[in-house]
């Protein structure tokens, strides 16, 4: 294997965070996004890259209770943060009500945007258990879906909202 001379690298930085409930440590090249760290360094490929500039929401993760586009956050900024990705949405051995509702309502076609929608919608329903259709549409406007026309996604979130009450 070709070794890269030390001077080519900007030194990697050790980062400690809580990831899907587990204390996690990793080394991050400082210029890599949290998205790249999750996917390439930590192998959590459930978080998707759609645009890499914050306009599609496929890479949405939850950081300290707020949803963010992980392509617009550096991996090193995860230091000390509590991060939840799609891999952390389901309880052990089961599905989150949103996941169940997405399946029952056929709210996914190709499925590439689904992780981002689920992470976003979960944050909404946790913050606003009574979110109405308009509020759901507004909250999810940062998540693009090209397959469904959104109809069944909105219905699935409404169904999960009732389920979670």
């Amino acid at each position: 294997m070709t070794q890269i001379p030390e001077q080519q690298f900007v030194h990697k930085v050790p980062v400690q965070c809580t990831l899907n409930g587990q204390s996690t440590e990793f080394l991050a090249a400082p210029y890599l996004s949290l998205l790249e760290i999750l996917r390439e360094t930590l192998g959590l490929t459930g978080t998707k890259e759609g645009c890499n500039d914050g306009n599609c929401g496929a890479c949405t993760v939850n950081v300290d209770g707020r949803i963010v586009d992980s392509c617009l956050m550096l991996g090193v900024e995860a230091q000390g943060k509590n991060i939840e990705t799609i891999e952390g949405v389901a309880p052990a051995g089961g599905l989150h009500p949103l996941q169940q509702a997405f399946l029952e309502e056929a709210a996914l076609q190709c499925g590439i945007c689904t992780p981002g929608f689920l992470v976003s919608a979960k944050a909404l329903l946790e913050a606003e258990p009574n979110a109405d259709e308009h509020r759901i549409r507004l909250w999810l406007a940062g998540n693009l879906c090209r397959c469904t026309g959104y109809d069944k996604i909105i219905r699935a979130v409404e169904k999960a909202r009732e389920e979670m009450k």
Binding site: Q3, I4, L95, G111, L144, K152, R155
Partner: protein, 762 residues
């Protein structure tokens, strides 16, 4: 749900089971193109041309090759241009030389974003840094961007080797790859005798499929010459064929594994990255993964073509169509192949037209080669024909619904390209909309002084049948696994499995479907042309029938009777001669070991045609802010003929998704391109696809006019839904603002201009 005749009885088909791949997808476990991670894998990056049209005078890759962390560098010389030949991809036929040149430039770049070199490196950022060290010198040529420039006498010719076909005659030194004509009757004479004739010209924007997953491919070229590819594609067997042709390798040395696919809509039929990953892998001795970024997807993959469509239509005093003509001109991009054939056959397909002429032109310009985009070529053409019909109805004072019903094509009607329709659902969709609450409702005026309007349009997509294979393996616990060869973009694993389950007498959940790689399933044509549920479903039915037949033989063996004495009813094997002898499928499956071993059978089909295609009618209410030109979609209803809806939820989903894509195209989507042929809005920020806040719920009506070509009456339904939205919106806008727009996108700026022109009395 509108049902036009007594349907067949089904146990599984028509129900709404949870899709088999759903749990993986909601957990984030499903592996898409970019999710492939292999031991010692390295990362490719592609250097793309900054110019739309230029000669490459020099490429020097030595500095990149010397950069630490770089394993391999390639350019056109590493992927020599292959000879011209036919590359049959199932739905379309491309030229091998053009495909080779499109994927990696050789002497000339012909679109912005054209690959000129590629590297493979230890990580993706090192690869991007290495690209900066590649020196390329260009002699910049004037790009040919507009259709007028491309067609003008003395135009700059993009491909000196292109032989155009003008009504069958060979033409050299041209950018017009094809000019075709469909004609019957005598339209000119019929126009002369018509009560009313109108002619309008429409301009349609080039629009991208907008799948959320960028292209991503991984390849490993092993020392024994075997090439393994993991890629997000609609056409794994097409990828295999293309790599074989372009890299001159034996077809059977190539194994293509389709990953989960994050949307395609036709855009993931062409090959882009796979041969580059393979060549880099051979050089590096490691698996190489390449991903496009979003800008590359916009600039260098294949959107649907833009162009101009001129339509003329005549009617008699009753409003009956006497004749129609069209002139369709699409910008194919840098290589021939805009979908003009489907456009020509689809443009008047909703009508009975006694005299027809359709000219269509496939024109080469310096932009990336277009690809199929959901009902390829047809939304553009239908925007013209259905918007024209809307205006014609205004002029003759006829209700558009009555006009459609009076003139609707039906069984026996001749389509412009020749075939006579079998039983189809055109009238069924019109009547479904006519009977809908939406149609019967009154559109209340806005309380805030906004302008409201309602519009309708119909659309057609024929679709294809073609070749598919499905293998069913009976497991000893009585469940079955099913392998098929069609990447699942929207739930087709489940709709295929449901058709097998129907025959097997099992619940959908007991059939476990998987999409196989090109070594593990027989040849299957692409996931496109609304063919998967229809044609691959037919193969599944075939395989399931073979399994039942074989199981009957095995059961006969156990019961020591003749095969003829075994019946399979409601999932039970029953002896005709000893009615107390009964086996469930499970019981029979558990005994296969005693009766000759495994049952694993493959159904293969080559389905001819679609069985008539699928019609749809859409109805939309819009509201316009007269001060800003902003449009809100207030209400939307889509009716379409599904033949028989296998999984109604996913049928509805296709209607809804296509409608919203069509709304996007109608209102905002376009390639905003500089004079130099550079797309300026190559981000999801500025290529404005609808968000969840931009559309209402999309109501659906599934019409079921059984397809005579399918055992269960199923029609392919994936594409039609993108055809009616743009003209339906155009007609609604005209109703709202009292002025007509003849160009997509019908964005706020254009609406303001139309309002201003109307006010100034133009």
């Amino acid at each position: 749900m509108t049902t036009t005749e007594k349907p067949q009885e089904f146990n599984v088909v028509g129900t709404r089971p949870i899709r088999h791949d759903g749990v993986d997808k909601v957990l984030g476990r499903a592996l898409y193109g970019a999710d492939i991670r292999l031991a010692s894998m390295i990362y490719g990056a592609v250097l793309r041309s900054p110019h739309a049209h230029a000669k490459i005078t020099r490429i020097d890759t030595s500095k990149a090759e010397a950069m630490p962390g770089v394993f391999a560098v390639m350019s056109g010389k590493d992927m020599p241009l292959v000879a011209s030949g036919a590359l049959d991809l199932g739905e379309t036929v491309d030229d091998t030389a053009f495909t080779s040149d499109r994927i990696m430039a050789h002497s000339k770049v012909v679109y912005k974003g054209h690959p000129v070199a590629a590297v493979a490196a230890i990580d993706s950022n090192t690869g991007l840094e290495a690209l900066k060290l590649i020196e390329v010198e260009y002699e910049v040529l004037k790009p040919v961007i507009t259709l007028e420039d491309a067609m003008a006498p003395g135009a700059i010719v993009i491909h000196e080797g292109l032989i155009g076909s003008d009504l069958g005659e060979q033409v050299k030194n041209t950018n017009i790859a094809v000019h075709n004509r469909l004609e019957f009757g005598d339209p000119e004479a019929a126009f002369d005798q018509s009560k009313t004739v109108i002619e309008r010209t429409f301009i349609i924007s080039r629009a991208h499929q907008g799948y959320i997953e960028p292209h991503a491919s991984t390849a490993f070229w092993a020392p024994d010459g075997k090439i393994t590819v993991w890629t997000t594609t609609q056409a794994p067997f097409g990828v295999r064929k293309t790599i074989s042709a372009l890299l001159n390798q034996p077809l059977s040395n190539i194994k293509v594994t389709p990953t989960e696919i994050g949307g395609g809509f036709g855009g993931k039929i062409p090959v882009y990255l796979e041969p580059l990953a393979a060549v880099l892998s051979k050089k590096a001795g490691r698996p190489v993964k390449i991903q496009m970024d979003r800008r590359a997807v916009f600039e260098a993959s294949g959107p649907g073509p833009g162009g101009t469509v001129k339509v003329k239509m005549g009617v008699d005093d009753k409003g009956k169509i006497t004749a129609a003509t069209a002139d369709i001109r699409y910008g194919a991009g840098a290589y021939p192949g805009a979908s003009i054939g489907a456009a020509a056959s689809g443009i008047f397909a909703c009508y009975e037209v006694p005299n027809v002429r359709v000219d269509s032109y496939d024109i080469v310009i310096n932009m990336s080669k277009t690809a199929a985009y959901r009902a390829p070529g047809t939304p553009q053409a239908t925007f013209a024909s259905e918007t024209l019909v809307g205006e014609l109805c205004e002029i003759i004072g006829m209700d558009p619904m009555e006009f459609h019903l009076l003139n609707a094509s039906k069984e026996g009607t001749r389509r412009p390209d020749g075939p006579l329709f079998p039983r189809v659902g055109n009238e069924g969709c019109l009547l479904a909309i006519k009977g809908s609450d939406h149609f019967k409702s009154t559109l209340e005026p806005s309380a805030e002084g906004k302008l409201r309007g309602r519009g309708m349009a119909s659309g057609y997509w024929n679709g294809i049948g073609n070749k598919s294979s499905v293998t069913i393996n009976v497991n000893e616990d009585g469940l079955v696994s099913l392998i098929e060869g069609n990447p699942d973009i929207g739930g087709t694993r489940t709709t295929i499995a449901m058709q097998a389950a129907e025959i097997l007498g099992l619940p959908a959940e007991d059939v476990h479907p998987a999409v196989g790689d090109t070594d593990s399933i027989g040849y299957s044509d692409l996931t496109a042309g609304s063919r998967t549920t229809y044609a691959t479903g037919t193969a599944a039915i075939e395989a399931a029938r073979m399994v039942i037949d074989e199981m009957k033989k095995r059961v006969a063996m156990i019961w020591e009777t003749e095969y003829e004495n075994i019946e399979h009813i409601d999932g039970m094997f029953i002896s005709k001669v000893a009615p107390d002898q009964k086996f469930t499928f499970k019981e029979a499956a558990g005994k296969l070991g005693q009766t000759g071993g495994p049952v694993a059978l493959t159904g293969t089909v080559n389905v001819r045609g679609s069985g008539g295609g699928s019609f749809g009618t859409h109805l939309v209410d819009v509201e316009v802010d007269p001060d800003t030109g902003k449009v809100e979609i207030l209400r939307y209803t889509a009716a379409q003929d599904a033949g028989k809806a296998v999984h109604p939820s996913y049928v509805e989903g296709q209607f809804q998704g296509g409608a919203v894509q069509g709304i996007g195209w109608a209102l905002n989507e376009e390639y905003y391109t500089s004079e130099d042929g550079v797309m300026i809005n190559s981000t999801f920020l500025d290529y404005r696809m609808p968000t969840s806040l931009d559309v209402p719920m999309i109501d659906t009506i599934i019409v079921e006019v059984p397809n005579v070509n399918h055992p269960f009456g199923v029609r392919g339904i994936g594409e039609t839904s993108i055809v009616p939205p743009a003209p339906a919106v155009a007609n609604a806008l005209a109703d709202a603002i009292g002025a007509r727009l003849y160009q997509t996108p019908m964005n706020p700026g254009r609406i303001l201009e139309a309002l201003a022109a109307k006010q100034s009395g133009k």
